[in-house]
Symmetry: C2
Subunit: 97 residues, 2 copies
């Protein structure tokens, strides 16, 4: 399984953009957590990631929206630094104390 | 040097929030690139990162805003997957073809 970070840039001042963000959020939440309005922490294997990206690609407006997917180091999602109200969130049962 | 990803969640529908985002963007752009409205790719060493985080902490509203900083693998910023209008961007001179 890979730890991934997916960021979505979409103009949510338009109703269509807000709708696309809701749809992408729903897709991503099947594989992880929404940690900011348009940032998703994802744990997936190669096949799941391909499936997710195909679904997202058919959901977004590919001429307006931007999606970036970063691969983190092993257990990288447990190693995030935060400022403000952000909190580290647990993805794997074995990390729950 | 570390490859880092910094994501900022701030309510930009308020003028104060939009102003804080502009200020954080200006701080981050000293260390990297703004690749989405509130996503910054940063290349920094430990001392630079500490300095940047201290400046950001005194800029954001710590009771409303969320900042997350992820450490990527070595050269992780050159290894991003994209959909839509997103493009991989070069940070190091030696990567320019």
């Amino acid at each position: 399984m890979m730890d991934l970070l997916l960021t979505y840039d979409v103009d949510t001042t338009s109703p269509e953009g807000a709708k696309r963000l809701r749809r992408v959020a729903k897709l991503c939440e099947g594989y992880g957590l929404r940690v900011q309005k348009s940032v998703f922490e994802i744990v997936a294997d190669d096949a799941e990631l391909l499936r997710l990206l195909a679904r997202i690609d058919s959901t977004i407006d590919t001429e307006r929206d931007s999606i970036r997917i970063y691969r983190l180091p092993h257990n990288g999602l447990a190693d995030v630094q935060t400022l403000g109200i952000a909190r580290v969130q647990s993805h794997r049962d074995d990390l729950v104390l």
